[in-house]
């Protein structure tokens, strides 16, 4: 009898622990292992810092705030499996993520089933918000602006006409490359070739194509991630080709310099939707705390993840107040996010009816020759409204 009593007490305690009324969790989903972990970790740590800093405030409101990181491995299947686990944890009221559009699109459909809000610091594919899901938001820019921004800079400022375009065949890389091509051709430039590749080590066939291409390309545009572009650039320069190179925000990681070699990477242009610390005066102090806490430099996606988490936290606070101090539902948080107007590190964050930031920033950058990612030159900042859905 006594044993049964203990068991009952134990089960009751477990039940209380599982469904604690005063715990609120924020989840992150990004690649924490594998090829893209360097970018994904920034997202996790940025969100973690914001949550740590808000803990005291939520304690005062009567809630324990917890961050739960999930590793989507940059893989849609893993992302969806995690998303199912996330929606089954009733304490999770918001998700910061993902890194890859290809993962965010299917995963966000899972969140949508329970109207769990997602705020993305990094997903740039137009389809992420063009589906008009009420729970999906992003604070960064879109590829259908990022690609054209690159094309315009190349055509108008670099005076480049013939471009050799390569992409990595993903939703992100190919989408970006196509948007680049469209604008380039509209401006009067010419695509010498448009090539996709999943290759990770041997880029010789593509390099030979570049050598043999007529007209001679004045620029190579690579829509993809640093893990591929790094070795590509190394082999390209080793073979004596000095053609200028441009990429998108997939290039925006110090790992690019490590893989390509500082000398080979120097001078590479890239557009990004997540500017460096130097582009945001307000981010300097946060970046210092970040470095102190994690021993790593805060890069672009870290800053955007910090802001994304703060958007969710602001909405949570509003929802708790509207709910009379009680824990809000996911639906309520989701609605509050669309009403947020926040002065973040990256500027004003305010969503349109699709979930795009009303005005997102786009940056044109150039890799420094010092090998230090923080030294990269900020060439231009463009603020642009998100285009209407197509």
């Amino acid at each position: 009898m006594r044993k049964i009593g203990l068991l009952v007490a134990g089960v009751a305690a477990l039940g209380m622990a599982l469904g604690q009324a005063n715990v609120i969790k924020i989840a992150t989903q990004s690649p924490l292992s594998g090829p893209q972990a360097a970018l994904g970790e920034q997202i996790k740590l940025g969100a973690e810092l914001a949550v740590e800093e808000a803990k005291a405030k939520f304690k005062a409101l009567g809630f324990d705030l917890v961050l739960v990181p999930y590793d989507d491995q940059a893989n849609p299947d893993v992302g969806v499996a995690n998303a199912n686990r996330i929606i089954n944890d009733p304490d999770i009221l918001g998700v910061v993520g993902h890194l890859n559009s290809g993962v965010a699109i299917p995963s966000s459909e899972v969140y949508a089933r329970v109207n769990l809000v997602m705020v993305s610091p990094a997903n740039t594919n137009p389809r992420v918000t063009d589906r008009r899901l009420p729970n999906v938001n992003r604070i960064c820019g879109r590829d259908d602006v990022q690609g054209p921004v690159g094309a315009e800079y190349a055509f108008n400022n670099l005076k480049v006409k013939n471009v050799f375009i390569i992409h990595d065949k993903t939703a992100y890389g190919q989408g970006l490359a196509e948007e680049f091509r469209k604008r380039l051709e509209a401006l009067g430039g010419r695509t010498v070739a448009f090539v996709g590749t999943e290759e990770t080590s041997n880029f010789v066939p593509i390099i030979n194509q570049i050598r043999g291409a007529r007209p001679v390309p004045e620029l190579i545009y690579f829509g993809g991630i640093y893990s591929q572009i790094g070795p590509f650039v190394k082999q390209l320069r080793e073979r004596g080709l000095k053609t200028r190179l441009m990429g998108g925000d997939g290039l925006d990681s110090s790992e690019f310099v490590r893989l390509a070699g500082a000398q080979n990477a120097a001078g590479t242009f890239y557009t990004t939707v997540a500017g460096p610390v130097s582009a945001f005066p307000k981010a300097r102090a946060v970046a210092q705390r970040f470095k102190q806490k994690y021993g790593k430099d805060m890069e672009g996606f870290g800053i955007y993840a910090y802001d994304s988490a703060n958007v969710i936290l602001a909405a949570l606070e509003a929802a708790i107040k509207a709910n009379g101090g009680k824990k809000p539902t996911r639906e309520q948080v989701s609605q509050e996010v669309r009403k947020v107007k926040l002065e973040g590190l990256t500027g004003t964050i305010e969503f349109d009816d699709k979930g795009d930031n009303k005005k997102a920033k786009y940056f044109v950058m150039q890799v420094a020759s010092t090998g230090n990612w923080a030294d990269n030159k900020l060439i231009r900042v463009i603020e642009m409204a998100a285009p209407g859905s197509r």
Binding site: P35, P205, K234, G240, L259
Partner: protein, 322 residues
Amino acid sequence: MLEQILALLPQVIFDGLILGFVYAMVALGYTMVYGVLELINFAHSEIFMIGAVVGVEVFRYLAPHVENGFILLLIALILGGMVAGATAILVERFAYRPLRKRGTTNRLVPLITAIGVSFILQDLVRLIEGLWHNEFFLRMRTVEDLEGSVELFGGAIFAQTKSFILMGVSILMLLGLTYLVNRTKLGVAIRAVAQDLSTASLMGIDPDRIISRTFLIGGSLGGVAGVLFALQYTTITPYVGFLPGLKAFTAAVLGGIGNIPGAMLGGLVLGQLENFFGTYLPILTNGNFGTEYKDVVAFLILILILLLRPQGLLGQVVKEKV
């Protein structure tokens, strides 16, 4: 279009040759193990990868201390070969031998074991490198001595020092292996075990020892190939062995699996096909098919060759063993 193709042709053939030699070196390991055990040792791809990782680590730690790049490379080749060879022996000892001892006759069981071992090795390396350096992409350190390049035939071919090293080493490997198999006592024993395991053991040969040595030799060759691969293509991940391994296996089949010169020839043919279509597909199809289809086309041609000559290019029609 023709002009464009011809202008690049010498370079394409040269680069295809380099890639072909990489496949050939790995194919040697597949073909040896198959010759002796009739086992398709898929874990050989990971043995190759381990060689590449050892190469990167040797360069990382010894480059500041060893001034001469060629000596450094020699150390890397020896260590890479040794570690890979030792891994191959361990794999044989703990994964394949127990199956053999239990008299498993189903051919699928060792094959599936091989696939399993290959996953284990991948994740083991990933774990070790993750804990050790927190790196996923291992980058081969650049050493000045090995970075030279020349232009041959008035600039028609751009060739790097390391490409010549790669070619030289793989030709040495083929010659050494041919000598070993045909002219030495160990070679005779290997051929005897390959012919008939139980009869060989009646003749005073310890088959376990011979099989172990076969794995050692095949594994070391794979490891050396891995080091040279890392030197040539510079970025290595724990999963880098998979595709070259699969292609090397194909090369071994194309050449006539079990046949050593055949493996070499198969590797070279595959390297040429892949590089040729990788470069020319967009030009030939006017941009409709990009480089991404190079493997499809290369493998289609392989299937065609095998339809016409199922035993492989240099393979003989297998007669029933008596």
